[in-house]
Amino acid sequence: MAAGEKIKAKIKKNLPVRGPQAPTIKELMRWYCLNTNTHGCRRIVVSRGRLRRLLWILFTLTAVALIFWQCALLISSFYTVSVSIKVHFQKLDFPAVTICNINPYRYSAVRDLLAELEQETRGSLKTLFGFSEITSRKRREAESWSSARKGTGSKFLNLIPLLAFDKGETSKARDFRTGRKRKVSGRIIHTASDVVHVYESKGLVGFQLCSNDTSSCAVYTFTSGVNAIREWYKLHYMNIMAQVSLEKKINMSYSAEELLVTCFFDGESCDARNFTRFHHPMYGNCYTFNNRQNETILSTSMGGSEYGLQVILYLNEEEYNPFLVSSTGAKVIVHRQYEYPFIEDVGTEIETAMATSIGMHLTESFKLSEPYSRCTEDWNGVLITNIYNATYSLQICLHSCFQAKMVEKCGCAQFSQPLPQGANYCNYRQHPNWMYCYYELHQAFVWGELGCQSVCKEACSFKEWTLTTSLAQWPSEVSEKWLLSVLTWDQGQIKKKLNKTDLAKLLIFYKDLNQRSIVESPANSIEMLLSNIGGQLGLWMSCSIVCIIEIIEVFFIDSLSIVARHQWHKAKEWWARRQASPCPEAPPSPQGQDNLGLNMDDDLPTFTSALCLPPAPAAQVPGTPPPRYNTLRLERTFSRQLTGTEVPAES
C-alpha cells in the first residue's frame, strides 16, 4: 500500500495532471485562437475593431462550412466506379448451344395421352366456330376418335368450360358444352369494355377459373379465338403431362440421332455424342452442344462460318401437336456452360427449309459488388433456394422465386419449371383448382407484386453473345434432289424420304475472335479520398489532421472538463451550504461566496469551500490547484503563450 502511494505520488509529481489550458471557456477560446495553426482563428482575436473581428468570424465560419460541404461531396461520391473496356484478340471458348425442336413430343407417341383432350378441343371448335375438318384424312381420324370417345362425356369442359361472351353483356355467358346461358359471377379479368364494341360481328371467348370454394372466380377472355383455344389447351396439356414420368417423357420426345442429321464443328465432324440432353417441360428433349461434364470446353481457332458449329436439323413437321404449337421451326439459345438455358424466354427461332447463319460477338461484363452496386456472384445473400442445377443468374432466381411462391400458395409446383424438394407438379386430380391459383399468382408475378424482383439481385459477371442472324434459301433448287436423298440415307432412323420443309440448317460461329470486356473498377481509393480531403482542408483553412485533433481536444475535452468542474463545484458548494446551515459556523461560506463572485475562475472559492468540508474527494485534488496559485498559473499560461508568439517575430 505504501509502495502504491509512493508510486502514485511520483507519477503525480512527474506527470502532473493539469486542467485545461484556461480556467473558463472564454479564456480557453482565446487561448486556442492565439495558438492554433488553423488560419483565421488568430485573426479573430488579434484584429482590432469590432467590424473587422466580425468579418473575420464570418470568414472563418464560411471556410469551415465550405470544408464540410466539399468534404461531404467527396465522401458521398466515394463509391463510384470507373469502367474500362478492353478488346482482346484471343482464342475464344465456344459457348454452349442448346437446340430444341419447338414441338416437345412426337404427336404419334403422345396421342394416346392427349386423345380425350384433342377430342374435346375439336368438339368445342365445332360448337364454338362451326369448324369442320377440311382434310379428308384428318376428318376420318377425327371421326374415329369421336366414335371411340362418345360414351365418356366431356370431362375437360366440365372442369373448365369454354365460354363465349355476347357483346355488351359480360356477366352472362354462353356455355359451349350445354348451350344454355349461365350467369357468370365474380370478377371478370381482362375484359376491356371498349373491346367489345369494336367487334360488331362476334363475341369474346374465354374460360372461367375458380378457387377451391368457388367463391371467387375469374374469367379470362381473349379477343382472338386462336389464343383462347391455345391457352385452354395448354392448361389441360400441363395437367396431363404432369402425371407422366420423366423417363416416359424423354422416350416420347426426339432423340439426338433423330434431331441432328449432320454436325460439323471447327472443320471436323461431330455427332450426337457431343450433345448432352436436357429435358425441358415445354420443349421436350433439348440438346446442348459443348456442355459436357468433366470435359474441356471446345474453342474455335478462327472466326467465320467455316469454323463454327454447322448442324442440319430434322424437324418432322407432321409430328407437330396442332393445338400446342402453331409454328414450325427450332429454337436455339447461346449461353454459358453450366448455365440454365431459358429456352422459352430467350431463344432465336430458326426456320425450316432455310439456312440460318448466326454470327456471334462476345461481350463480357464484370461489375463490382457491394457497396458499389447491388449484385451478387453466387447464391450467397439471396434468400431463395436454387431449384435449378446451374450457376446463378437473375432469371434462375426469378423462376426459383416464383416456383417457391407457387408451392407455398397453391401447394404444388408449376409444370414448366423444375421441382423443388418435397413438392409435386400440379394436376387437377390432387389439386383441383390450382389453375386459378396459378393464374392469380402469375399475374401478380408479372406485375412485380410478389417481391421476387426485389429479392433477386443481378449477377455480377455475365457473358453476352450478340447475335446477328441472316437467312438464305436452303437447299437450292438444283441441289435439293441429291442433297435430300443423301441426307435420307444418312438419317437411318426414319424410314421415309426427307422433305425439305422438315429440315433446317443452322450455322453458329464467331464473327471475329475479338472479345470485348467491360470491367468496372473503383474510381476512388482511400488515398485519393484522403488527399482530396487534405486538399480541401488546406485550401480553405490550412488545417490538418493535427489541427482536427487540436479542435477535439480544445472544444470537446477541455470545454467539457471546464463545464464539468464548474458544475461539480456548484454542487459541492450547494452541499456545503446545506451542511453549513445546521451548523452555526457560517463565516467560511460567505467568504467563499465572496471569492466566487469576484472572480470568474471558480477554482478559488470552491476549493476553499471544499477545504472546509471534511469529505473532500481525493481524486479532485490534483485537478484543482491551490487558490492563490490559480491566478499565477493563469498568468503563466499567458506568458508562455506569449513567448511562443514572440518566437517567429524575433527570428
Binding site: 482590432r48 384428318k138 382472338s224 386462336v226 401437336n321 402453331s326 483553412m541 490550412s542
Partner: protein
Amino acid sequence: MKGDKHEEPEPGPEPAAPPPSTDEEEPLLEFHHSYRELFQFFCNNTTIHGAIRLVCSQHNRMKTAFWAVLWLCTFGMMYWQFGLLFGEYFSYPVSLNINLNSEKLVFPAVTVCTLNPYRYTEMKKDLEELDRITEQTLFDLYKYNSSNTLVAHARGRRDLRESLPHPLQRLPVPAPPHAASRVRRSDSSLRDNNPQVNRKDWKIGFQLCNQNNSDCFYRTYSSGVDAVREWYRFHYINILSRRQDTPLLEEEALGKFIFACRFNQVSCNEANYSHFHHPMYGNCYTFNNKNNSNLWMSFMPGVNNGLSLTLRTEQNDFIPLLSTVTGARVMVHGQDEPAFMDDGGFNLRPGMETSISMSKEAVDRLGGDYGDCTKNGSDVPVENLYGTKYTQQVCIHSCFQVNMIRECGCAYIFYPQPRGVEFCDYRKHNSWGYCYYKLQDAFSSDRLGCFTKCRKPCNMTTYKLSAGYSRWPSVTSQDWVFQMLSLQNNYTVKNKRDGVAKLNIFFKELNYKTNSESPSVTMVTLLSNLGSQWSLWFGSSVLSVVEVAELIFDLLAITFLMLLRRFQSQYWSPGRGGRGAQEVASTPASSLPSRFCPHPASPSSSLGGPATSLALSAPPPAYATLGPRLAPSGSMEASSSAHTPGEP
C-alpha cells in the same frame, strides 16, 4: 467565440456614427498609426509561411535574400501547377461510364404499318391516268404488255401521254467506259446513279426544269425498275397532294389489320394504340405510345412477356406499281418519338412468325460546356414541325421541310405540313421537282447546314433488335388456325399462308446498358487539387489571401488618413487643424489599449516591434484578475463583460 458573438447585435446601429462610440467601446474599425506598426502587426499575425520570413526577417540581408528566392521559387511552382490544373478543368474532360442496370423496363412504342397506303379501289379514280401512262411508257420502252386493254387502246391514246409533265425517256450515254469523261446532257446534272453500266449504252430517266425552263437536268437510273418506280412515286406524290380530304381511316383496325393482339398474356384494347396514316407505308398503328393510359411495363424478359400480334398481310388490294413489297413493317421507338418508318423499320414476311428480341441501350451525354448536345431541342435553331420530343431525325426532317418551303414554296408530302403551306404539286408549283432534287442534293452534301444545326440530344434510348423466324402456322395446325381466323375476322384469302404473319416483340433481357458521361474533373476535385498544391508549396489558405487583402486595405486606409492629416495640417488654420489631427489620432489611441494594453500611451509611442506585441498580448490576465475585484457582480456575466468596466 461565443463571447464575441454576443457583441454582434451591438455594432448594428453604430456604423453610422463610429467616432462618438469610441470612448465607450472598441470601435467598429480601427487603423494602425503607421506603416511600420501595420507591418509589424502583419508579420506577427500572418499565416503565410514564406512571407513571414521574407518580410519580417530584416536583421539579416542574407537570410532575407535567401527567403526571397525560396519564396519566389515556390510561388512560381505553385502558379505553374495552378495553370496546369485550371487548364485541365477548362478543357472540360469527360469520362465515360457504363452502367449495367437491371430493373423493370417500360415497353417501347411499337408501330406496325400495312405497307399499303390506300386501297387501290379507292384510289383508282385518281390513279387511272397515271397508271395508263405508266403502262404505255413500259410498253414503249420495254415492250412490256401488262394488260390486254392497253394494247387495244395504246395507239389511240398516245397523244394523251403528253398531259403528264416530266416523261420518262431513254437517254443515250455516248461514252460509257470512261466515267469521268462522260458527257452529260446538261451540265447541271446532279445525280448519276449509273457508275458502270457497260452493257447498255443508254440510261433511263426524266427531265426536270426550273421555272422558266432555262436550266434543266435529267435524273437518270441504270435500272428500269428503279426509274419507273421513282417516276411513278414522283407523280404519285403530286396526286396525293391534290387529294385534299384526309385519308380514309380504317376504323376497325384491330379486326381488319390486326387479328390478335396480346401483351403480357393480356388482350389489348383500343386504348392501347393510336393510328396515323403514312403516305407510303399506309395505315400505321402505334402501340403503347404516350397517350396509352398506362404504359406497358416489362417485369420479365421472354416471349411470353412481350407484345404478340397476328397481322393480315394479304396484298390483293395493293397499288401495283407503288407497292413492290408485301408483308408489314414494324418499328420500335421511344414513346414520345415519331416513327420514322423509312429510317429504322423491320419488314415482316408473310406466313412467318417473326420473333424480335430487343435489348435496350441508353446514352446520356453531358450538355453545356462538356459536349455539343441539346437537352430538349429548345436551343436548336430549327422549328420542330412534329411537335414531339426532340430527336436528331425530327430536327433534320424539320430542317429539310423548312428549307423546302423557303426554296420551293411548298411542303414535301412526307414531312409534316406547317400551317398555311400547301403540299407540292406540279400543277401549282410546276418546278418543284427541279427544286426538290436540287435541294435534296444540297441536303445530302450538307450545304443546307442541317447536320450542323441539328445537334445530338443529350439523352437517347436505342433498342437493338434481333429477329428469329419460324414458319407459321405449321402444317398440322394451319387448318384450325385459318378456320378460326376466317370465322372471327371475316378473313377470306386464297393464298392463306401469305395472308397472315405473326409478330412477337419482347425484351431479351432486363439488363440494359447506360453509357453516360460524367465530368472527370469536378469543381470539388479541382479545389482539392488546388488546396493540395497550395498547402504543399505555400502552406497558406484562402484565409491567408483574405489577410493579404486586409493588409492592402489597411495600407490604403492609412495612406488616406495620413494624407488627410497632412492636408489638414497644411491648409487648415493651425488651431483647427491641430484639433482635427488630434481627433484622428486619438480615435485609435483610445481604443487600441482597450483590448490589450493597460498603458494608453504605450502602443503609439513605443517603436520596438517585439516589445509592442509583448505588451499587446501580455497584460490581459493581470487585468482580468484586477477587473472583477473592483466590481464584484454576477459570476458568469462577469466573464463576458470583463472588458467593459475595465475601460479607463
